[in-house]
Assembly symmetry: C2
Homo-oligomer: 431 residues x 2
């Protein structure tokens, strides 16, 4: 009897999970590797960072996802390097062999080489990073109340979000709602007029990938909530106290959220020639990395460059899920010496929420904004969340927040430090 | 017009919160200080540590508790020292004056001077400590799966709880249920026969403060769940790998939970003469610390020594709440030059849960065990939880767990390290 082929998947995000699930009853051996023991529902990270949801409700233990899947093993580990000529991975728990390797490592914040910004601004791409940001926002409010120097006070009360994509728009909106509904009640000593929220975007419009209606309406919604929106404004630097724009404007701010871009998390050991724009891996129409016979990439880290998609597919959950699904079929085809099928992306549209009753939705030519868009956004996100308990807890939180105008999860879970020590920890994972 | 008296309360636990709430419409100025920005519902910490509840559902932002209370300010700070002769506190955010000071700092784990144990065993008295323990339990399971050395594997799969009070009984029971319902499904590679849970108690009986029926039944319940109970067993040392008992027995274990005792968190600057057994502060029948005119202590840190209570009151939430309530009245009486009233403790009874359908309850002469006790336990804890959202989220989790036999919150939120580096971080707060 022939030995089962061994498929190793690096990453338990949307793409990796979908691929492994679709291989459930196939005659293969699967090993899925992740540095965390949980899958993160990234689209709702901003709600964790702004006190709307508990971290546990948007994360799901990877072992639970694969309960009962007999052809799969899961390991918590960090992959250090791949040796393509040996079909071998070096990891923190030893070497792992593979017949087929799938890189589904996702993306991380892109600071475009600006070290100073990367050391001082807050990323929001993982649960520890979101909890770290939540703690910083709350710590800065506590510090503002006792600040004696008006310049320091102003820095502590200025919140800047850099990047006008969906994450930036949603985060700025959520901080504005925090100001409107929570600070008013819980920080009576604060002068709310001193609390400012800025959203900084380099291009002329917010939500560049969406329709003109969505772009205009999201800006209007943000301004209604009191957010100051700067478009065509490029960030030059941020030293932890002052954010400088290229045009010379300066904003003193102790909290700067960085959502201005992402880059793929590539793996050491691959040819540098396959790394293209955005640090993504160049793959063909069956997700195979150029120049390799058995190494694939899917999701945010993959750039499937075709005539229709000169920059690859958008770095969103549906693209990763669809690529994972298609690759499951193609891996089986390859093993059984059957012809493979080219990936076809089905664009499900895009949406972003700004705040209560305020969201924008594009589904092909159908575009709508406002309260119905907001309910659509909530419904789609609830349905996509992994796990019944998580759906239930998120739903309870949303219903409760809707009626109470409140945010329940406001724990500072890192040590409280006086203002001058406020720096982003170098290893955000440690918090 | 006379100036308002300034009452400073150190600690936002059950006692401090109750005292401040009861002073709501009084003509005083209140400052409440805590090193966290949230109140912790300590009786359910063990469920956070064992993956049953999210941390956010048993914690409540202190600012929200006092929303709308105009005579109160809240500050996140650590108090360093008191200067009784100056009526002044030294804190990390500067000096704070008081007319009346109330010490409600609670208790922390007591290792009875055994440094080695304190460095290697896991405490469970705060949210960061409970999350730290949860992460360690899950990390040790992941490490066990890949362990090659059978001795190491056995250490990783032995879970020891030291101390047979309510916390120890509840924790041992919860780990046993984790084994029974979660490990079976989610860790198919584990040989469950190798997973052992021990509960170690120095005295002849578990739940020393409860009735004989509760003591016997809780032991029986634990044994039904597969917990090995050692009574009259005293711990001599724990080096991080091997737990040694005074009688010579040894247990190799990578996880040791320490719930064998607590001690009061006293404040530097007070006379050492007022510190009695258990590191508690000796107070009179109106909670005034012996030898002082305006410094009080309530809750776990206070020992109100009378003829009826030669060791003070038990360190439980109802005692702290009742002392806080009575002290609110007496502080007003003192300010208005009216006679004070001696504190009278109303014993509400005691209860402990071992697992699904298994709890023990003593209410005066009424004693019952089993499923009805379990529902009583849940009802009482739900009602005592602060905040409607928290009640709702905990209720949803409990109902979901009851029907699914599962635990939903199983995130490792500290960095994953290989076994040899597993040590308790020196500053558990940092995790």
């Amino acid at each position: 009897m022939e030995q089962k082929k061994k498929i190793v998947i690096i990453g338990g995000g949307f793409g990796g999970i979908e691929l492994a699930k679709k291989l459930k009853n196939k005659n293969v051996e699967i090993i899925i590797l992740d540095k965390h023991n949980y899958h993160t529902f990234q689209p709702l990270l901003y709600q964790v960072a702004t006190g709307g949801l508990e971290a546990d409700s948007i994360a799901f233990p990877i072992r639970k996802i694969f309960k009962g899947q007999k052809n799969l093993k899961f390991r918590v580990t960090e992959v250090k390097k791949v040796f393509p000529e040996l079909n071998k991975l070096e990891t923190t728990i030893g070497n792992i062999d593979y017949d087929y390797l799938v890189i589904a490592t996702g993306s991380t914040s892109n600071y475009f080489g600006q070290t100073e910004i990367s050391q001082n601004a807050m990323p929001m791409k993982s649960i520890p990073e979101a909890l770290n940001l939540r703690s910083l926002i709350l710590q800065n409010l506590e510090a503002a109340i006792i600040a004696k120097d008006p310049v320091k006070e102003s820095e502590l009360l200025n919140f800047v979000v850099v990047g006008g994509g969906p994450t930036g728009v949603e985060t700025a909106g959520a901080i504005a709602e925090l100001k409107k509904h929570v600070l008013k009640n819980d920080y009576p000593e604060l002068d709310l007029n001193k609390v400012n929220i800025y959203l900084i975007e380099g291009s002329p419009e917010l939500l560049g990938a969406m329709s003109v209606q969505a772009q205009q309406k999201s800006k209007q919604f943000l301004e209604e909530l009191g957010v100051t929106v700067y478009t065509e404004a490029r960030v030059q630097g941020y030293d932890g106290q002052t954010l400088s724009l290229v045009d010379g404007r300066k904003i003193g701010a102790a909290t700067v959220v960085w959502s201005a871009g992402v880059k793929g998390v590539v793996l050491e050991g691959l040819s540098t020639e396959v790394v293209v724009r955005g640090n993504r891996l160049k793959v063909n129409e069956i997700s195979l990395i150029e120049g390799y016979q058995n190494i694939f990439a899917i999701g945010d880290v993959a750039a499937m460059i075709t005539e229709e998609t000169p920059n690859g597919h958008p770095g969103v959950a549906p693209a990763a899920i669809q690529q994972g699904k298609q690759l499951a079929k193609n891996l089986v085809n390859l093993i059984e010496n059957k012809p493979t099928e080219a990936f076809k992306y089905f664009d499900k549209g895009a949406m972003a929420t700004v705040g209560r009753n305020r969201a924008v939705v594009d589904i092909n030519k159908i575009r709508f904004q406002g309260i119905f868009a907001w309910f659509t956004w909530m419904f789609v996100h609830l349905m996509t969340l992994v796990g019944f308990r998580n759906k239930l807890v998120v739903f309870v939180n949303w219903v409760w927040s809707y009626f109470s105008y409140d945010r329940g999860t406001r724990l500072i879970i890192r040590p409280f430090k006086p203002f001058k020590e406020y720096k982003k920890p170098h290893d955000a994972e440690a918090t």
